[in-house]
């Protein structure tokens, strides 16, 4: 076993990105994700990489576009208000089919909101955020170890499918320290024959662009892109299922909410309540099958979120509203306690007895 070190979630993302071969980071500081930039500022110059604090979030995402077009692994990171600023660039990346890794270490919103943890950018992340028909692969870590693991996976998926992977974390997972091991197998980076690396007069020049003034052609690019999305939906959705097989009640939660929920599930199980947890690890593609299967035997679903109820819509869609889905939440930077979730489970169990 490789040595474990204590690291903040944000630092684990940065280290994992470096190990995945990312040598270009562009960002602009914002709490609670600044440790990513700080780590990159320290490490990149020592390993021949680029750390650049841009003049704004918008500048940073467009620098990402440039490096990605040149075929290199590249990332940026921010927190909620900063991601809104980057959204135009995210749409351009999608339109140009460019791979990139973007981290959103969420904080309470809307507007400038606060600096405490939140999950209220779920819609923004899973529905695209910017304009046009597009998706990002959205990965939701719930531990520091997963911050590292999903960063590497994010780069690999981004390259494979030529799209943006977003790590949708939150202030808690970003700021907390846990033991992490970097004992990863990292796949060799795939070739990018589309990259604008200079023709050396040996091939036709590549064009990276998101402008298609011919509507017939633009329609084709959209349809082609969605065919790729279908493959991703089929192949890449993942969820952790915990005590789900015999559960009457399912708790659905991701990230920090899932950790809180697991405590509550354990407590309720100890009292004989048949409850389980489904924790989506990919939010897009959403792990529909896990929910569809659980809805065959479960009688109720409780969605636990640090939002006014966003993932709950995907839970309802994937179960086709066959079972009632209720919401247990805190917002604005507040986090539900295990006891709050436990009470929601007990309440649901009582309803089930009627």
């Amino acid at each position: 076993m490789a040595d474990k070190v204590l690291m903040k979630g944000n630092e684990a993302i940065a280290e994992a990105a470096i190990q995945a071969g990312c040598r270009h980071y562009f960002g602009y500081p914002i709490t609670p994700q600044t440790e990513i930039a700080a780590y990159m500022a320290k490490r990149m110059p020592k390993i021949g990489g680029t750390f650049l604090q841009a003049e704004s979030e918008i500048a940073a995402i467009n620098m990402v576009y440039g490096v990605s077009a040149a075929g290199k692994r590249v990332m940026t990171s921010s927190s909620s208000p900063g991601i809104s600023l980057k959204s135009e660039g995210l749409s351009y990346l999608a339109g140009a089919d460019l791979p990139a890794l973007v981290v959103n270490c969420q904080r309470g919103g809307p507007g400038l909101g606060g600096i405490q943890p939140s999950q209220s950018d779920y819609f923004q992340a899973t529905r695209g955020g910017g304009h046009g028909d597009y998706h990002m692969i959205v990965l939701a870590p719930s531990s520091v170890q997963e911050m590292a693991q999903l960063t590497i996976k994010g780069f690999e998926l981004a390259d494979e499918y030529r799209m943006t992977s977003m790590i949708l974390a939150d202030g808690t997972i970003g700021q907390m320290m846990e033991p992490v091991s970097f004992d990863f197998e990292i796949k060799e980076q795939i070739e990018k024959p589309w990259a604008t690396t200079g023709t050396k007069m040996a091939r036709k020049h590549n064009i990276v662009n998101s402008l298609y003034l011919n509507p017939e052609q633009l329609e084709v690019t959209n349809i082609e892109r969605y065919k790729r999305y279908d493959i991703i939906k089929e192949k890449e959705a993942i969820a952790e299922e915990y005590l789900v097989d015999d559960a009457d009640i399912i708790v659905a939660a991701f990230g920090i909410a899932a950790r809180v929920s697991k405590n509550a599930v354990n407590q309720a199980r100890a009292e004989g309540i048949k409850v389980g947890l489904i924790r989506p690890i990919t939010l897009w593609p959403f792990p529909e099958k896990a929910f569809r299967k659980a809805a065959e035997h479960a009688k109720q679903i409780i969605c636990v979120e640090l939002s006014m109820g966003q993932m709950i819509e995907d839970v309802r869609l994937s179960t086709e509203c066959k079972v009632p889905v209720s919401l247990c939440y805190r917002v604005g930077g507040m986090i539900p306690t295990p006891d709050q979730v436990y009470q929601a489970i007990v309440e649901a169990a009582k309803k089930g007895e009627k």
């Binding site: 474990k4 204590l6 295990p338």
Partner: protein, 178 residues
Amino acid sequence: MTKEYLFAGFGGQGLLFSGKVLAYKGLIEEKNVSWLPSYGPEMRGGTANCSVIVSDDPVGAPIVLTPDVLVAMNLPSLDKYEKAVRKGGYIFVDSSLIERKVQRDDVNVYYVPATRLASENGAPTLANMILMGKLLSVLDSYTEETVDAALKKCISARHADMLELNRKMMEIGKNYNE
């Protein structure tokens, strides 16, 4: 077994550092650990706190709401968290900064004039480690080997001279009796 710790006081008192030493000690002892700081403006002089969980099982929610052990380094922190401590739990009070006594009688309380002791021993910024030494000796987990190893993980090579001083302060805390 799971033990939940809460370190609370002013920003700058080294609460996050204490927590880190404890977390590393847990890691060295092959436990599951989590460390969660308060972050933001309170870090610059306001109240700050740090949740540490050390457990034989994987750690669920990393936020400590009902600590088994509270280390209070200012009055607002004691006021805020005294009631939250689990029955039968422990409260360590820096009695040079907090004049009042703990009002509960169902918890174990240790008063250590840590800030005064730290100043008297030439390390006014290391009151946190005096409390840490006391905490570990009371909870019967003060093994020199792991304490040393944990300190080495938390003090960078650049500040190696601080290692001995931290060690000394922990010893003072360990040997302090009211």
